[in-house]
Every structure is written in C-alpha cells, then in structure tokens.
C-alpha cells in the first residue's frame, strides 16, 4: 500500500532564515532510513512558496497565470515522499520519525488512490 507523506510547514516569512531547528542533516538521515528499509518509492523537496506560479484555464480556454499560490494558505507543502508499507500504522510511524513532524510542522498522510484494482 502506497502512502504519500506531505510535509506541511508554516510559511517562511520573506527574507527569514529557513524554519528554525529543521536541520538538513536530519532530512538526509531520514531519507537514508527510508531507502535502507526498502519502503521509499519517490519524493522531492520543494522550493519555497515565493517561487510558486499558479496556472488556471477558464471555460473559454483562456489561460491565467498568477504569481504565487492561488489562495492564502496557513500551511505550505514543503515536500513529499511516497512510501510503500503494509498499512496506515506503519505509514504513521514513518511520518512520526520524519523531521517534518517536529518543530511545529506536521505531516499529512494520504493513501495513494489505486483505480486499477
């Protein structure tokens, strides 16, 4: 069963340092743990929100491109990993082990939809 771990963080204020406490080294360790356990499927960190562009195509086919995210969001998706584990409890354990679950941030755990079965 595949689950996506979505690492949600509070938005970083413009010009501010990256989230306090969240150590790059911890992410490297977490990344290695997932790969060593053989559960890691895919995943990427994302650039911060200031680099986001939003695209929308209206009913008339007109494309609108806007700078930044479409709506103000309290939490920002900072990156994700897809893992393949037996059940939700195991997925929650991995989420809890990640640096993304600490320092006031949180991890959303969502099962991957499988329309093939």
């Amino acid at each position: 069963m595949k689950y996506m771990l979505l690492f949600m963080s509070a938005p970083t204020a413009e010009g501010a340092e990256p989230e306090e406490g969240c150590d790059f080294e911890e992410w490297v360790v977490f990344d290695k743990e997932m790969k060593d356990a053989g559960i890691w499927v895919s995943g990427h960190p994302l650039q911060d929100l200031t680099t986001c562009t939003t695209v929308k195509v209206g009913a008339d086919g007109e494309r609108t491109v806007t700078d930044g995210p479409f709506a103000e969001t309290r939490e920002v998706l900072g990156g994700y990993d897809v893992i393949d584990v037996p059940n939700l409890d195991v997925a929650l354990d991995w989420a809890a082990r990640s640096p993304g679950a600490r320092y006031g941030a949180s991890v959303q755990v969502r099962p991957i939809a499988d329309f093939g079965s």
Partner: protein, 421 residues
C-alpha cells in the same frame, strides 16, 4: 405452518439471536483476522445466521453453535472469493502485506478458541477515526448491536447511522487501517483510546443522556462485558483493571438508583442494602490491583473514589477527606471541569456547602460546563442546604432546561417544589 411449528420457529429464532449476539464479536474478529476485510466479514456473518435460521429448526441447534456459525461463515467467504476474483486478488495482497507487517503469528493462548477480538478493539478505537465513530463501530462490531440499536444509543435516525458506519468502514479500507494488536511499546499510546470507547458505552448505558429510561442496563452490561474481555486479554494493564473496577462499583448501585416508579434516587437517599455486594467486592479487589505496582491512572483513581462511596455505611460516614485527596490527584493527571465539579461537591461534604459553593462559582465561566445540567443542579442543592431557596429555585430551573432524561427531570421538579419554586 401450524401454530406449534410457528412457535418452535420463533423459539429457535430467539435462541439463534441470543447465540448470535454473544458470538458475533468473536465471529467477526476471527473472520476479519482471516480475510482482512470488515465488510466481507460482516456479510458472511449475517449469511451464517440466516443459514442457522434455516437449518437449526430442522436439524436442531448444534452442540457448539458458535463453531457452527464460524465454519459456515468461513465457507461463505471462500465461496464469495471464488466468485469474485477482483476481491480475492485484493485480499490476497492484503494478506501478503499483513504477513509482511506481522511475520510472527499471534501466540496461541491454549484456550479452547483463540479470542481475536483484541485486534478488533484497537481497530475500532483507532486514532485515525473520529471519536463518535469509534464508539459506534465498537458497539456494532464488538458489542454485537444492530445498526438500529447503535442509532438509538446516539439518538440519530437509523439511516444516518447506517451511512455513518458505511463511511467508517470505507475509511478503514481505503486508508488501510490495520487489524492488529499494537506492539508493547505502542500500548501506552493506544490503550487509553480503547478504554475511552468502553467507558463511553458504559456512561451512555448507565445515565442515558436522553429518553424515558434513566438507565439502559444492556449498554452498561455490554461495557462491563467488553472490559472483562479486555482484562482477560491484557491482564498486566492496571488501567484496564481500573476501568472494570470503576464500572462494577458504579453498577453495584443500579437497583438503588431508581425508585419503584422509575424516579431517580440520589446517592444520599439510596437504600445501601440494595447495593450489590458481590460487584462491590469484585470492584474493590480490582482497585487494589489497579493502584498497585506503579503510579495510578485516571480510571484507577475514579474507581478508588467509587470504592470509598460503596464501602461507606452512609453519607456522613463516607471518607470525604480521602475522596477530596483522590480528586486532587485526578485533577493533576486528567484536568477537566467535570472532575473539578465533582471535587467541589466532595469539598461541600467535607467542609460544608459554603466551601463547595465558592468552588462552583469559580467554575461559572467554564465553557465545557455550559449546557451540563449537573452544574446548576449541584449548585442548586448547595444553595438549598444553605436555605437560599430563591437562588436554589433559579438554579433548579436552569438545570431543568438542560436535563435529558425524564426521571432526572422529575427529581429536579420535586426539588424545585421543595424550595417553593
């Protein structure tokens, strides 16, 4: 059909339903464990009962009705998987992954039939489910209640409850919430959720929040039965002993709690000879277990308070200083305005109504007590004891506007009359 045959049919049906209620949780747990799917397990459980209703009147009730139902249900499940390859494939994957997650088979306890309900307890009380859904699912799957009965317990229309249960089962399947017993290191985090569900069933059964009957004994009995099972399955967990003790010690007063007309009788007016000594003795022994060998838990403490009430000859002879001291510990462990309210009532018994009233007034702005009828009712009683009848009448009226059950309403009306309201 002749009248005699119809009568026999009805009696067999009653006997099947009695067996079914008793065995349903065990049956369901075994089938879920084997097939990994709650829906399939429920469907074949129902089919097995239908089959029993056809065969038992002809062949007689088998010696081991539970085993008969289990065998029949398993066959139905296998038949269904033969017909439905998509489902079979999905469940085969589930099984493979369950083995991957849990490579060591569950220890055989050496009992006649392994009781696999513990895993189901933890699934039904899983933190990924909403609190009300956990109670509903536990009542449905482990207490063996019908959807209609669960709906009545929740005071919602049966169709609403049916939809809700379908939605919860879909969530369990889609998110793959597992059917497994948490590892020892996970237990401290997961067990309180299971205990909370059982205690919710008990409180709902004991003091029905609404409706004509003050007590719904079947739900209270179910909660005690569930706790006994859990205690057998987790004998080293002191809070399980504490919860069982608490429920037994409260339940011991059930016969004295209502008068002949179904009217409510308060602790102070109860005929203590009508308390169930056997339940009190069992509860008191469990309190010792719950409070020995480590720091106390919230259920153990509440059970100790209930034990002090049950052991007292009368209200005046109750060890109120000890009860207040236990509430003090409970407040540090599990702070809650309801505990603070109960502590205030105990202080009123120890130090007089004025002291209790001062504590109650300090809780006046507490949002979690707004809408809780026992807050104004407790205040009204203290005001009445102080002879402040006008204020007492106002507080009784506030309580009357909030109270849910008819017997409690009648009790408050009598009290209101007694203060000239």
């Amino acid at each position: 059909m002749s009248e005699a045959a119809a009568g026999a049919g009805a009696s067999v049906r009653a006997s099947v339903e009695a067996v079914f209620r008793e065995e349903r949780g065990r049956l369901l747990a075994s089938l879920v464990r084997r097939f990994g799917d709650l829906d399939l397990a429920e469907e074949v459980t129902s089919e097995a009962v239908e089959a029993a209703l056809v065969h038992w009147p002809v062949d007689g009730v088998p010696d081991r009705p539970g085993a008969w139902l289990l065998t029949t249900a398993r066959r139905r499940a296998v038949d269904r998987l033969r017909r439905d390859q998509v489902l079979a494939t999905r469940l085969a994957i589930l099984q493979a992954e369950a083995d991957r997650a849990d490579p060591v088979p569950a220890a055989d306890t050496g009992r006649d039939l392994p009781d696999e309900r513990l895993a189901l307890f933890f699934t039904c009380a899983h933190p990924a489910l909403a609190a009300d859904d956990r109670v509903a699912l536990t009542l449905r799957c482990l207490a063996g209640l019908t959807t209609g009965e669960v709906a009545r317990a929740f005071l919602v229309p049966p169709a609403t409850m049916a939809q809700r249960i379908v939605r919860v089962k879909k969530r369990i399947r889609a998110a793959r919430i597992p059917f497994r017993v948490p590892a020892p290191d996970e237990l401290p985090g997961r067990l309180p959720g299971v205990l909370q569900v059982i205690y919710s069933v008990f409180t709902e059964g004991y003091a029905a929040s609404s409706g004509p009957d003050l007590q719904r004994l079947d739900l209270a009995d179910e909660a005690i039965r569930l706790a006994r099972i859990l205690r057998r399955l987790l004998p080293a967990e002191r809070e399980v002993a504490g919860l069982l003790a608490l429920m037994l010690l409260v339940h011991a007063r059930r016969d004295a709690r209502t008068g002949p007309g179904g009217d409510v009788v308060l602790l102070e007016d109860q005929d203590r000879n009508r308390w169930d000594r056997a339940l009190i003795d069992e509860g008191c022994a469990l309190v010792v277990t719950a409070l020995t060998g480590g720091p106390p838990g919230p259920y153990g403490l509440q059970a100790a308070i209930a034990a002090l009430h049950d052991e007292a000859a009368d209200l005046a002879g109750t060890d109120w200083p000890q009860i207040v001291a236990l509430y003090d510990v409970l407040l540090t462990l599990a702070p809650s305005p309801v505990v603070a309210l109960n502590r205030a009532a105990a202080v009123a018994m120890r130090d007089g109504p004025e002291a209790g009233l001062a504590l109650l007034d300090a809780l006046a702005g507490e949002p979690r007590l707004r809408g809780y009828h026992l807050y104004p009712a407790t205040r009204a009683d203290l005001l009445r004891r102080l002879g402040r009848n006008g204020e007492a009448a106002t507080a009784y009226r506030e309580a009357l506007a909030l109270v849910g059950t008819e017997p409690e309403r009648a009790h408050l009306r009598r009290r209101l009359d007694s203060v000239g309201g």
